[in-house]
């Protein structure tokens, strides 16, 4: 009677499966699983490393898109958001103004006077305008403005937001239904954008003016200041009128966004000693990348 009793359901099912699957195929599957088992940790490690390396870039692209999209919604600009925008704009322009004027003066003294002197010496004084536009205003100014923006205001934003994350204040904002992206990242990024453009224009005018003053005083330039600025403007192409402001705007945008995102993504293991160098390196990288991209395309 026990010999005729039906096998338990699990045994029956496994027996049926064993009859259905051809033995060669199951051996192949087993071999593939063993092979995959050997390679899986390596593949996972490569994937982890790749994701870790491009994480900030992907975050930046996503946050940049998010910032632009959210800024177009009227109800994103709520009162605390506008307040934060104004406060950051004051800090960016007010904090960076003196540094920009001093740096622009030094750059003007060096570049304009040297260019005027050497071009005059080589008998190419008529090239002064175009050389100044392409070297000083289009290439040097965005880099210096970006570095000053980052040093004076970007690092401050990074530290403030990073400390808020570590201190639990950002979580406190979320608990009250205040989106940290809307309340902190978006207004600060746009304040940096406007600040970048403003400081960039101040830099361009001051550096050219100071360069002219020195070159005129040393006799390297004999024309009036109006003629000098007229020559500079004439030397600018249509693209320059577009690219120069765009560079200032983008440098400001990415310095602000990079600082805010770096601050928001700090982990509980981070301290000031790890946050600051990382933020500085990312900021420098962003300033250079924006300038190099424009150099490649135009």
């Amino acid at each position: 009677m026990t010999e005729n009793a039906p096998p338990p359901p699990e045994q029956e099912a496994s027996g049926v499966l064993a009859q259905m699957a051809p033995p060669e195929e199951s051996r192949d599957t087993g071999r593939f699983a063993t092979l995959a088992g050997h390679f899986a940790p390596w593949l996972a490690a490569i994937g982890r490393l790749t994701r870790h390396q491009v994480r900030f870039t992907l975050l930046l692209i996503g946050a940049g898109w998010g910032t632009l999209r959210e800024s177009l919604r009227p109800n994103s600009w709520r009162r605390p958001v506008i307040y934060e925008f104004r406060a950051t704009l004051r800090q960016v322009i007010g904090g960076g103004f003196l540094s920009i004027v001093i740096t622009a003066t030094l750059a003007g003294l060096m570049v304009v006077s040297q260019a005027a002197y050497w071009l005059g010496y080589a008998g190419m004084a008529q090239m002064t305008g175009s050389i100044l536009v392409s070297v000083l205003v289009r290439e040097i100014a965005p880099i210096l403005v970006g570095i000053i923006l980052m040093g004076r205001s970007g690092m401050l934003s990074l530290t403030e937001i990073g400390m808020m994350v570590l201190g639990g204040e950002v979580r406190g904002l979320q608990a009250r239904g205040i989106d940290p992206f809307l309340a902190l990242v978006m207004p600060r990024t746009f304040a940096f954008t406007v600040g970048g453009f403003t400081l960039g224009m101040i830099f361009a005018v001051v550096s050219l003016l100071m360069g002219f003053v020195v070159a005129h005083a040393s006799g390297a330039i004999t024309s009036s200041v109006w003629t000098f600025f007229f020559n500079v403007l004439v030397a600018m192409t249509t693209w320059d009128y577009l690219i120069i402001p765009l560079k200032f705007v983008l440098v400001g945008f990415f310095v602000g966004l990079g600082a805010c995102i770096s601050g928001l993504t700090v982990s509980s293991n981070d301290t000031m000693a790890t946050i600051m160098p990382r933020g500085f390196a990312r900021g420098i990288m962003l300033v250079l990348v924006v300038n190099i991209l424009f150099m490649l395309d135009f």
Binding site: P80, G168, R171, G172, Q174, A175, G177, D179, A183
Partner: protein, 231 residues
């Protein structure tokens, strides 16, 4: 939200241990409009985490948490934030931004979530400030205020804007003696218009004088949330 629906309902809600540190036990709680639930919890951090869970900030592995009939897990970011704007909350840690003065910290959620005229918001905050013993609205940075003034300011902020739910962490050790009665009165007034209260306490002394008005009494332990008899 239906008239007889619970304001806050945790139904076998099991929090993610990795995200919260709370034990993955099923939590059950139901607060109707106007009810007051007192939860005994000696650990501030655990109480804060549970409060976060009730506001949909901690993912669940099982069960659901509904506030005003809406399941937190089914809402988008904007909806989540708008719904959290209906909650008045007192937190012990990490609730004051050093970027702004205390007055802006108090009014920030209300200014963010509503379009009420600024003057009205200031007036309401000042009135509540008077209730809790301030001569006006404190404009200094929060880190320069004493613990007692911060506790007063936390009360003002929590009761601003007619919230539908109050989640109150225990600040009884910081709240001055003369503010306790206004605190109970303001809480009762809020309950009278249908606001639910979830009140975390460390000791019986914190809520002893209010015990007759308490509807639910529970204890939050590592193992979960346990009902106690209301005395």
């Amino acid at each position: 939200m239906a008239a007889n629906a619970p304001l806050l309902e945790l139904r076998d809600a099991v929090p993610s241990f990795e995200e919260s540190g709370l034990m993955p036990a099923p939590y059950n709680l139901r607060i109707m409009p106007g009810e007051c639930a007192v939860i005994d919890c000696r650990d501030f951090e655990r109480a804060a985490m549970f409060a976060d869970m009730c506001t949909g900030m901690i993912p669940l592995t099982q069960g659901s948490i509904k506030f005003m009939g809406l399941d937190w897990s089914t809402l988008y970011d904007r909806q989540l934030n708008a719904l959290r704007g209906r909650i008045g909350r007192i937190s012990r840690h990490g609730s004051w931004l050093s970027l702004f003065g205390t007055h802006l910290n108090i009014m920030l959620p209300h200014l963010y979530h509503t379009t009420d005229p600024f003057d009205h918001v200031v007036q309401r905050a000042t009135e509540l400030g008077h209730t809790f013993g301030f001569p006006g609205l404190p404009i200094t940075a929060p880190d320069r205020l004493s613990g007692a003034d911060l506790a007063r300011a936390a009360c003002v902020r929590a009761f601003m804007g007619r919230p539908d739910l109050l989640i109150l962490e225990d600040i009884s050790d910081m709240l001055p003696e003369e503010t306790v009665l206004p605190f109970f009165e303001t809480m009762t007034a809020a309950r009278d218009r249908g606001c639910g209260v979830l009140w975390f306490v460390r000791s019986t002394a914190a809520w002893h004088e209010y015990r007759k008005a308490v509807n639910i009494h529970m204890r939050l332990l590592d193992e979960g949330l346990f009902s106690l008899r209301v005395v």
